[in-house]
Symmetry: C2
């Protein structure tokens, strides 16, 4: 594999390029605007795997009909502060944003709003919805199920999704946003490590002989990535799948995995309107105190302890200034779409 050639693309130019392609493939101007912004923002924030590096595949899924570009979510059922929506196979980002907004709207009147979203597509980066809600003053707890990618503890067969989980809360002008999958490493990360011939920082799965290993290529071959915390992350992945499927009245990982391509996933969005809580005015100070304590623990190495989301803000700033780093070939492919 040849060396990557990184170029830098300005945020504005990247979004323009995405928008041009989306319009060409028949998206409405409004949808192209939102989708191009999210794909570009994911890249700006350093989540390239679910930004610029994933854009061509998104277009491919549209062409192949896995993503129904014109379909919009429809309300299936509502009771109290719960709404259950059908994503109707539409673009995952648009469906997830709309359901995040619905959860926020319900929370505004009731403190909390919960939306279950069935039959939707890959939301790309879970953090998108956490940042979106947090920037508007809401806490968000959200997760998605996925196609099966890892075995449960004691199993050799991958029956569990990695089911990313998001916790987000406003913090000063930014947010604390945790966006974590239940596998120790993503396939994307392992593929990169294998390509570069580098070891994983910590054991990331099993080799063909069933030994725990840091060899990404061996894990990719065995298809046995490690759940976080061994049996614990496997159990949490199962429960996140169960709750996603039940709360959305949608598909569980089992049914999703019956298709070769990941589609018709299930998601949950729980928004909390922090302004409706007791002592709202003291929340910012309480958060500041927690984070300051966290960051001042005795530490190894350079001692820089970061809270979830802190690195994102740094990367965002750098990429805004210098442009977003993109593999030259990836960018050329997008320009040729």
């Amino acid at each position: 594999m040849e060396q990557e050639q990184l170029i830098r693309v300005r945020m504005h130019d990247m979004q323009q390029q995405f928008s041009t392609v989306l319009l060409k493939y028949g998206f409405t101007a409004v949808k192209a605007e939102t989708l191009s912004q999210v794909f570009a923002e994911n890249s700006l924030d350093g989540v390239y795997t679910h930004g610029v590096n994933r854009f061509s595949r998104f277009i491919q899924y549209v062409q192949q009909g896995h993503v129904q570009k014109d379909n919009e979510p429809s309300l299936v059922h509502a009771f109290g502060v719960i709404e259950q929506w059908n994503g109707n196979g539409g673009p995952g980002i648009l469906n997830a944003l709309q359901c995040t907004e619905r959860a926020m709207a319900i929370a505004t009147g009731n403190g909390i709003g919960m939306v279950g979203l069935a039959n939707t597509n890959h939301w790309m980066r879970g953090g998108t919805y956490g940042w979106h809600a947090a920037k508007k003053g809401f806490a968000l707890i959200s997760w998605t199920n996925t196609i099966s990618v890892m075995p449960s503890w004691g199993a050799t067969e991958a029956k569990l999704g990695n089911n990313p989980l998001v916790f987000a809360i406003p913090y000063h002008d930014e947010a604390i946003v945790l966006d974590m999958a239940m596998s120790q490493f993503s396939y994307g990360k392992m593929e990169m490590k294998a390509m570069r011939g580098e070891s994983l920082e910590v054991p990331g799965g099993f080799d063909a002989q069933g030994n725990v290993t840091t060899d990404a290529a061996a894990i990719l071959a065995s298809k046995r990535p490690m759940p976080i915390g061994y049996w614990k992350g496997a159990a949490l992945a199962l429960l996140l799948d169960v709750f996603a499927a039940i709360l959305s009245a949608g598909q569980a990982t089992k049914a999703i995995s019956a298709s070769a391509v990941e589609t018709n996933v299930s998601q949950v969005f729980i928004a909390i309107d922090l302004s409706k809580l007791h002592n709202y005015s003291s929340i910012a100070a309480a958060l500041h105190s927690i984070v300051e304590d966290y960051k001042t623990a005795s530490a190894l190495g350079d001692g820089a302890l970061r809270y979830p989301g802190e690195g994102v803000v740094r990367t965002r700033k750098e990429n805004l200034e210098k442009g977003i780093p993109v593999d030259k070939e990836v960018w050329e492919n997008i320009q040729n779409l």
Copy 2:
């Protein structure tokens, strides 16, 4: 350390004994009944560390005034489907049960109910509240923060709680109940392993030199247990603490850890009334399908893949039949309280 001598105590006798002690220490009959039942049920279900083995310490905390035996929770704030309660330093089990019930009551009318509980004491076993809600048809998502017990990733100083997280949902006549702390192993488990001179099944922390190790004694000495999934569990522990403190308007791990004894913790209870969801009648079948698929994955060893809560039911049945196993000395100490 001498060998444990296990005896078996009948569920009914254990509860009676707990009740006798609680009445002697001034608990009302109603409170003694509930507390003795939960301590005995935790033991019956095999969670001895937060049942019979913890009972004497609970009484000690009452005597020392860390647990205010007569105090009851009071409503601080309510908006929509959110209630925030002050536990007023009362018994953690009673406070948590009452708040679980409140969340369920709110959910009955609104689909979801969320209760934040501040200034409460150790709830013993998180699964108690998961089973309680699930047995009545509710799904429950709940967690507590704790005193600091583990370092964040990259830190050497323990500033994070292990912050157990509960996901529970009814399953056939029982429930799927996940009750997991964010540390790979509890201090109780590591102490037992160290006492027996056994290695941990997987790396559970760091030794004094900073090496990852399965040596429980070394981890107890360094006070650096491992978060599940390294940086991931550390990050989730931080977010659970943040959400517990903010949603309850209570203390975060930082403030809790300023006391030598763990008290005034913060908890969250989110109940969902499943009967209010779309296609409620099909939920049982959907769950059955997910669990059956999970259990039939190709597996190592004896191939027995268990879902969270499955082992509990088995242990409960065995302990009901044979009596609950208790260390003779532990039981004698309780009889002498």
